[in-house]
């Protein structure tokens, strides 16, 4: 089983006629995803990567039964694109777009939530379930393979790096969720853990965190009280100075809060094994699985 997406996920790509939209429509299809439609206002009636393009999400839902969307539209229009998706009945939107003002994202998040929809992202690689197979977003097709490890991450390439290492020791993933690097994200570590807790086909969760905010500390608190599966974590940014945004809008130590040390301490306090460097992660995962098997 997988979380959030499966083989029946029918994707509409919002902003399909843009460069990124087109490239990743192709990649998603190659992965095995059902990309059933694209939307670009004014380009309705055309075709991209053998996918019909409509003027509105509603048409994609009405004609192609789309039930998830992948948003590539530029930041100034992203809020509107998400509202359009929610209003059309889409219940899962992966927002790849970066540089969305958090004031917009606050509205997007609470609007989607009020209407029963979920956002992954923004500024995220999306979600991939190699066994389905299905992916929504821009996660590379090659690093994953089906397995029983859940991955939740605030980063993109760092996650591919770590997952690749884990793959090299022979382990695969159930679902990988890229939460995104922004200060306000639609789905947090805690939300992701809730999903994996309920998934019978996930044995262990790898968390890839980074400096900024308290999402990892919140996750530690959740793990301590509610999570029953082993968790292995890595936190990027121990070398980062305060008050500097390290690439991600959310990766910033402000007023002394959000340091890698604080996160590591919180997670270890909740029984999570925290790797200090990416290359330590495969061995850690293997060790923890071995311990689990022994119990």
């Amino acid at each position: 089983m997988t979380v959030l997406i499966d083989a029946d996920t029918r994707i509409v790509v919002q902003g399909i006629t843009g460069h990124q939209g087109t490239v990743h429509t192709r990649q998603m299809k190659l992965f095995g995803s059902k990309v059933v439609a694209g939307v670009t206002p004014g380009k309705g009636g055309t075709t991209v990567e053998e996918t019909p393009v409509y003027d509105s999400v509603q048409e994609a839902v009405d004609r192609k039964q789309a039930n998830a969307s992948c948003i590539f539209v530029p930041a100034p229009f992203a809020k509107d694109a998400l509202i359009e998706a929610v209003d059309a009945g889409i219940r899962l939107s992966v927002v790849v777009t970066e540089h969305i003002p958090f004031h917009d994202m606050l509205v997007m998040y609470h609007y989607a939530r009020a209407r029963g929809a979920r956002i992954i992202g923004p500024n995220c690689p999306g979600i991939a379930a190699p066994g389905a197979p299905s992916k929504v977003g821009i996660i590379p097709n090659v690093v994953f393979r089906p397995g029983r490890i859940g991955v939740i991450s605030r980063s993109g390439t760092l996650t591919y790096e770590i997952v690749n290492g884990i793959r090299e020791i022979g382990l695969g993933q159930s679902t990988c969720i890229g939460l995104g690097g922004d200060p306000v994200v639609g789905t947090s570590f805690v939300d992701g853990l809730e999903l994996f807790e309920k998934d019978p086909d996930t044995d262990l969760v790898v968390m890839v965190g980074e400096i900024g905010g308290t999402a990892e500390e919140d996750a530690a608190d959740y793990i301590r009280h509610h999570f029953t599966k082993p968790v292995v974590a890595y936190i990027a940014g121990r070398a980062a100075p305060p008050d500097k945004r390290m690439g991600h809008a959310g990766a910033i130590i402000t007023r002394g809060r959000g340091t890698a040390q604080s996160k590591q301490t919180a997670l270890e306090g909740a029984g999570v094994r925290v790797g200090r460097f990416p290359y330590e992660m495969p061995q850690l995962v293997a060790d923890v699985l071995k311990e689990k098997a022994r119990r």
């Binding site: 821009i138 007023r255 990416p278």
Partner: protein, 385 residues
């Protein structure tokens, strides 16, 4: 993060109707004196350095004056300061007010709740980080409800305000809320918020505008305040580039991987000097541009760490080789490369042709970088010695 100087923050406050002391900005002692002599700033007055760092009061960057001569002297003294590394170019002159109490109020983002949060404290005039948690009231504000009356009443009660000051707090908070949203702020802070007679007024103003919202606020495009000149160039080119206090440049793709690369370097005794996140790109020209920018930071050595996904290894290799060819000999730097992932073989081949070996192991490549930097530094020392 567009951090605004106090006077700019106060311009915004004025626009939203927040009560302020009468004040004006000056850029020279003459200008300051004439503001007072023309009656635009009442006497006695306070003269404050317009710098972004805190602790101005103790640092001599705030002075008082009760006549024109004192104004000239204070202005000249402050304008000559270099305050915590920042040259003072502007001063703000304001009429002195009789402060009964100093309070604190701010609006910022609570990332966990995904809600704006209103912070109030009766301990104003000191850094909020130094105030114990139980002396700060934290009220999340839902964007769909806006700032509610009961939240304003609770803030006034927590601050121990009654009568006129309590009454004036409500509209001030409404204005602050409007400014926070209308200006796409990350932070609007009044510290201290002063009780003066029967009302509260903002003695200081700290406003931080969100970088990503500047498309809605072109008026802040000119405000650079907090970046190094190279960071500013990088920002215009949309490259994530941060200058640090070490000597090794790091180029990687993705913020997380770039941070992790810094972490590994540090582990082996390296001192990162530049964080450069290539992001996702499939354009060799963009990669070359990033390398040339890195060269301007004069790194002792550079560590290139790519995990190819959206960004393909051969694209990076091509961009790198192009950039290296353009660099004059004296600007070149030792380079250690590690490229993995999408189109890895093609990338490795391109690098090899240009005489660069990719070391696939992260640990080994980081160690090689630290060694290369040390060797270069030793050689340079040898030359100067």
């Amino acid at each position: 993060m567009v951090k605004l100087a106090e006077w700019r923050g106060k311009e915004i406050f004025r626009k939203y109707g927040i009560a302020l002391p009468e004040g004006h900005v000056a850029r020279s002692a003459e200008e300051a004196t004439s503001l007072v002599s023309q009656g635009k700033v009442p006497l006695p007055c306070v003269i404050k350095a317009q710098v972004l760092a805190g602790g101005r009061g103790k640092g001599g960057a705030v002075r008082f004056a009760s006549n024109a001569e004192e104004v000239r002297a204070a202005a000249a003294a402050i304008l000559g300061l270099e305050f915590k590394g920042e040259k003072v170019k502007e001063i703000l002159l304001e009429g002195k007010v009789a402060i009964d109490r100093e309070l604190y109020v701010s609006l910022t983002l609570d990332r966990t709740l995904r809600l704006p949060i209103l912070l109030t404290s009766a301990k104003g005039g000191v850094e909020i980080e130094s105030v114990p948690d139980e002396q700060i009231l934290r009220q999340p504000i839902h964007p769909f409800a806006g700032l509610a009356q009961y939240e304003k009443r609770r803030a006034a009660a927590f601050l121990g305000l009654t009568g006129g000051p309590a009454k004036s707090l409500g509209p001030l908070l409404d204005s602050l809320w409007a400014a926070f949203n209308g200006e796409d702020a990350e932070l609007v802070e009044i510290n201290p918020l002063a009780v003066v007679g029967d009302r509260v007024i903002a003695l200081d103003a700290k406003v931080v505008i969100e970088d990503d919202a500047t498309f809605r606020h072109p008026e802040y495009a000119e405000v650079r305040d907090d970046r190094t000149p190279l960071e500013e160039v990088a920002r215009e080119k949309e490259i994530a580039f941060v200058q640090l206090d070490g000597n090794i440049g790091v180029i990687a793709n993705g913020a997380g991987l770039t941070m992790a690369t810094l972490d590994v370097l540090m582990q082996f005794g390296g001192r990162p000097g530049v964080f450069l996140d290539l992001g996702g790109t499939d354009d060799p020209a963009k990669v070359a541009e990033a390398f040339l920018l890195m060269a301007k930071a004069k790194p002792t050595a550079v560590f290139l760490n790519i995990f190819g996904g959206v960004t393909r290894c051969d694209t990076v290799a091509k961009g790198l080789v192009n950039a290296m060819e353009k660099l004059p000999a004296q600007d070149r730097f030792p380079l250690v490369a590690r490229i993995r992932g999408n189109n890895e073989n093609e990338g490795v081949e391109i690098l090899r042709a240009a005489g660069i070996t990719s070391i696939p192991d992260l640990k080994a490549s980081a160690e090689a970088t630290v060694r290369a930097a040390a060797a270069r530094a030793a050689a340079a020392q040898g030359r100067t010695a």
